[in-house]
């Protein structure tokens, strides 16, 4: 039986006795025995309302060093500052989210961010004798603006430094626009909206993926073609 049909059957089984009871003048008392665990849940059951964790909880920082995180905080604030009613990247907790996203990413992406943040800090110290985290906006602009490029989808710049600056800018902006804080604030003029889309759950996922050839251990009868 398909899972969908199975659920329907269980819901029907749960509903049927109630309907019969409703037509009875003197309903029988409830069963003294424990209620079977599948009974009760049905389409009318109210669903608990849940919150997005970012709104109420503090994320543990696991990936960037404290210096890299401070650089990323300043970079995020410079690239995506608050504008009108919309929060900036810092208020949207984008740096903490990127610590999670980048830290979970393949090695080339992790290294690009680590090297890029280290390079920004070194540039700030070389040119202004302070860490990037302490730069004024105009000082940060002198480092960042020369590397800003225009580019088309799937083709970010590949030139050293321009790659990091432009990809980080896109990530910081997307993570901010896609945050609940941004979504909750009213937009003005051409400010982007937080995307709302059809999210696909895993569709009958393969729960045996980790044991791919378990059936091959069963000996095959003679006469069958081997494979």
């Amino acid at each position: 039986m398909r899972r969908r049909d199975f659920v329907r059957a269980m819901v029907a089984a749960a509903a049927a006795p109630k309907m019969l009871l409703a037509q009875t003048a003197n309903p029988a008392p409830p069963l003294a025995a424990p209620v079977p665990w599948t009974l009760g849940l049905n389409a009318a059951t109210p669903l608990p309302k849940t919150q997005v964790a970012d709104v109420v909880a503090q994320a543990d920082l696991r990936f960037f060093t404290p210096t890299q995180m401070a650089t990323l905080e300043r970079l995020s604030d410079v690239l995506v500052p608050p504008f009108g009613d919309k929060p900036g990247a810092v208020a949207a907790e984008t740096p903490a989210f990127l610590d999670f996203l980048v830290g979970s990413s393949p090695a080339d992406r992790r290294h690009m961010y680590q090297d890029g943040l280290d390079w920004l800090d070194a540039e700030a110290k070389k040119r202004f004798s302070v860490p990037f985290a302490q730069l004024e906006a105009t000082q940060a602009d002198q480092i960042l603006q020369p590397w800003m490029r225009t580019w088309m989808s799937d083709h970010p710049p590949t030139e050293a430094h321009a790659d990091f600056i432009n990809i980080a800018h896109a990530d910081i902006r997307t993570a901010t626009v896609n945050s609940k804080a941004w979504s909750d604030a009213p937009a003005s003029r051409a400010q982007e909206s937080t995307p709302v889309g059809l999210y696909w759950h895993p569709i009958e996922p393969d729960i045996y993926a980790q044991e791919p050839i378990r059936m091959r251990s069963i000996p095959r009868r003679a006469g069958k073609a081997a494979f």
Partner: protein, 523 residues
């Protein structure tokens, strides 16, 4: 218990398999369809969500689907997972194999552009000497194109351009916006036609095998289907060499099973069909199985702004609408830089422009986004990739998928022909845009990796000569007369056109031929 063989075993449920099932069952022939993935039910499997409610705020889940540029967190679970069904390639020449194994396959998700090939594609070798001609021409396929256009409710206009054959269209007579008209006028000055696109509207918002083809097949009572069965190999009769069924594994339980059939119709999608033939070690007396892998170059283009639409002055009269520039190179003149040609999708857009179109950030960027809102004009390429013997796939015995089935190794790369075409496209777009008075904001001459267009074709090509082709002009194996391959793998050349309509027409034509051959007891 031994089961009776089914009349026809159809492997795959997308446009190719769906059309075969519809045609064959309507002729009264019993079919069994096998599909590697589950039936998808949008009410059960999907729901509307804001990006902030997803674990990765809408970003593609890290480390997954590295070669599916089309994926994001919303749709990540509809694509084939690259770890579950791996494939290999030389890191210097990456390949984007974009797959869907849900029931209905990639027919559930496609751009709906529905073009006929012309004799500039079917008989390309006769014109420029490269490759091979198809064993059929437009006149052979035209009646089937017409019927497929009817089923898929394709809209378009009659243009009378030989390289952009007209069809059985729902008339598209929406007025052009004035930005499109300006581009059209500028194109005319340099001999570039700008036409209406051709688009499958389908029914109820969907143009898929699952709603336009399979319901008719099921209604005959002649179609049975299995979900979640991964075909391991096709089987053949040792005496006759004919195909006699398939051996498969249940995707979830790993139970091994087999089915016998009188005829096998392979429609698993270009590279999966070829992989299955290779793993079955059949249908390759020509030695060209797996060779001549083609697709189209995508990702090349130009983004512009229409100055008059800036500053909140975009109106529906000025902006909006889309068109197609059908191939115009190597039609009446000859390029010395490349063979064949490319088409362009042209779109006038009244919404926002992407931030990456401006080398700015912060308040300065927001000022630009506000100013340029509603003024976007996009041009993107669809360019023909030449069929080359060396662009091929083979079985990699060292790598297996989640069911122990050997994986495919894909070895293909673009050549000067494709790169020169890409540069010509961008130069041409920039020239026509500037002649239209548009400002060019960004451009890209580097094609996305091969495969990205999801238009992979070839590797099992059709031809009249059994020594140089895998299939005959009826999509029938030269080697095994009761084996038909009806998906894009049979293409002899790629053209610039989205292949779906041609796959539908070829599958319809092959299936009618098969039904007649069965009636005459030739198969």
């Amino acid at each position: 218990m031994t089961k009776e063989p089914v009349d026809i075993l159809i492997i795959g449920s997308g446009h190719a398999g769906g059309m075969a099932a519809k045609i064959l069952t309507e002729k009264g022939i019993s079919c069994l369809m096998l599909n590697a993935g589950p039936v998808v039910d949008v009410a059960r499997d999907a729901k509307q969500e804001p990006a902030y409610a997803l674990p990765f705020r809408g970003f593609k889940p890290p480390g997954r689907l590295a070669h599916v540029f089309q994926s994001n967190e919303f749709n990540a679970n509809v694509w084939v997972d690259e770890e579950e069904v791996p494939y290999t390639f030389d890191p210097a020449n990456p390949y984007n194999w974009v797959r869907v194994r849900l029931f209905g396959g990639r027919s559930l998700f496609w751009s709906r552009q529905s073009f006929r090939l012309s004799d500039y594609e079917f008989k390309a070798k006769s014109r420029d000497g490269f490759g091979e001609d198809w064993p059929i021409n437009l006149a052979d396929l035209a009646p089937y194109y017409s019927r497929a256009e009817e089923i898929f409710q394709v809209s378009g206009s009659t243009d009378g351009i030989p390289q952009y054959p007209d069809g059985n269209f729902i008339p598209d007579d929406i007025p052009w916006s004035s930005s499109m008209l300006r581009f059209q006028e500028a194109g005319k000055r340099v001999g570039i036609p700008v036409c209406r696109g051709r688009r499958a509207h389908g029914r109820d918002g969907l143009a898929s095998s699952v709603n336009l083809l399979l319901p008719d097949a099921f209604a005959t009572g002649k179609l049975e289907a299995l979900e979640n069965v991964v075909v391991r190999e096709l089987t053949t009769d040792k005496q006759t060499g004919l195909a006699n069924g398939a051996h498969f594994v249940d995707r979830l339980t790993r139970r091994e099973m087999s089915v016998k059939a009188r005829v096998v119709v392979l429609a698993a999608g270009t590279l999966e069909s070829t992989r299955l033939l290779m793993n079955s070690k059949i249908a390759n007396s020509s030695g060209v199985l797996g060779h001549y892998l083609m697709d189209q170059i995508y990702g090349v283009g130009v983004t512009c702004s229409v100055p008059e639409a800036r500053g909140g002055k975009a109106t529906a009269e000025l902006m909006g609408g889309a068109g197609v520039v059908p191939r115009f190179r190597n039609i009446t003149t000859k390029s010395d830089k490349f063979l064949r040609g490319y088409a362009l999708n042209v779109t006038s857009h009244i919404g926002s422009l992407e931030p990456r179109n401006f080398a700015a950030y912060g308040a300065e960027l927001q000022k630009k986004l506000d100013l340029y809102y509603g003024s976007a004009f996009y041009m993107t390429i669809m360019g023909e990739v030449l069929g080359r013997y060396e662009n091929h796939v083979r079985i990699n015995k060292d790598v297996v998928d989640a069911w122990g089935i050997p994986a495919l190794h894909i070895e293909t790369k673009y050549t000067d022909n494709e790169h020169n075409m890409a540069r010509d496209a961008v130069d041409t777009c920039v020239a026509v845009a500037e002649s239209s008075g548009f400002e060019v904001l960004s451009k890209n001459t580097e094609p996305n990796p091969p495969g990205y267009s999801i238009h992979e074709v070839g590797t099992c090509r059709m031809g009249n000569d059994p020594k140089h082709s895998v299939l005959n002009k009826w999509n029938q194996s030269h080697d095994i007369k009761n084996l038909f391959v009806v998906d894009g793998s049979g293409f002899t050349s790629a053209g610039w056109q989205n292949p779906t309509l041609t796959i539908l027409a070829l599958s319809m034509r092959a299936s009618e031929y098969l039904a007649e051959q069965m009636r005459q007891k030739n198969v």
